[in-house]
Symmetry: D2
Subunit: 135 residues, 4 copies
């Protein structure tokens, strides 16, 4: 079981759609922000370091369940953790919680593939990166 | 097997991200546009009609696979079809194809729940709507 | 001269465009967030209160100068203030500053019209709202 | 007086905000799309050609008036034209018209600076580009 990390986000007016909820596609951006934040703040290996080493992470697939709507001004916690480290990819699970009540507004996962930034091809995840994500 | 419908979209400059591809969350908006377009144009029961009857469709869950990047100026075909009609929800599958080559850039599904717009609670899908979606 | 208020925002990965800067249209959303935040936190008259009284604010016009690009991970300060209170509208000026250096990345203004939420027509700004914005 | 060109866009569900209108920042993306479309289709000098020559266009400033709301499903015409060619920049005016009624929903301008893509510094606009934009 890997460590879970939290990032806090406020739902902005521009993210509210015709139904007066946070728009569904914005949820992907919330989790993307959380991962980017946690790579730097929690794993101490920021996205920039991957770029410098000639790597990038590409999203292979994603699954979202939408349980409770998010409203303008809600503060949310994006809780994310590494579920599984594979040869060329990492499965990251997440929950989007309402701050205060800890209600699960959404949950799901992303599969991220490590790619060679020059060729765009998947690469084996190096040992030191596996180690960083094994906390 | 239900009928498949196509909607055409041009990838806009504002949709391109730091990796020079269409940003992942924009894919959800492409499919949302296609469904909205097809409800009116292909099923002849536009979203507005659901609103008038006191209904709305809420996304319960979604799954996306990202196979090929989309680039600025690509014309894409969003092909969507009803995979399964359940008591209170509909599973809609989709493919995002590159126009011309018909390469599958992305595929997946959405589960949409019919809700009472006033209470926000799921409702049984009425017979006439089942019929409309049974083509 | 009216009081200036600050809101802090982190530039998110989803906001970076093909040029590797925060996308131009996102700047409008930053200022919208700052106003919404400052209405509640600084003026103590949140957007919800306007809604309850049957009002809404509509953007009549806006002007933006883009001086310095914003990069992924930049923390910005949106500084905004009421420049002028007119009969039916308010002119709000803003600066987007880079946190730390206080460099002005962008500046400009918004003209917001008070509208009757039911009719969509402009209304005279009531005395008590003029007072709230006269700090 | 320079030639005016039109690009057609359908307002998508994801672009509608809490007020049930197209969200204000989306207007900038509509005009950006129109310019990109017209550079290729009308001026026969696509954005890609600027990139190849080591140039890019950066937005220096923009002004928008919002006259009429845009609704879900509206088809709009973005009409744009070169208003003025300066040494290092071009002022482009636009109108966003409702298709059918030709009502002006929005109008304004963008000032675009020609920059050296490598250094990010403004450059004099070469003669052949002035000529292309002088129609």
């Amino acid at each position: 079981m890997h460590k879970r990390f939290d990032s806090e986000i406020i739902v902005r007016p521009s993210e509210i759609d015709i139904n007066r909820h946070a728009h569904q596609s914005v949820y992907l951006d919330y989790v993307l922000f959380a991962r980017w934040d946690q790579m730097k703040r929690c794993y101490k290996m920021p996205m920039e370091e991957f770029f410098k080493r000639g790597y990038s992470w590409a999203t292979k697939s994603t699954y979202f369940e939408f349980n409770k709507p998010l409203y303008l001004g809600d503060t949310i916690i994006v809780r994310a953790w590494v579920e599984e480290i594979r040869q060329k990819s990492v499965k990251v699970c997440f929950q989007i919680l309402k701050k205060g009540t800890e209600e699960v507004a959404s949950e799901g996962y992303f599969v991220y593939v490590l790619i060679n930034a020059r060729t765009g091809k998947p690469e084996n995840i190096p040992e030191d990166i596996i180690e960083v994500y094994s906390v």
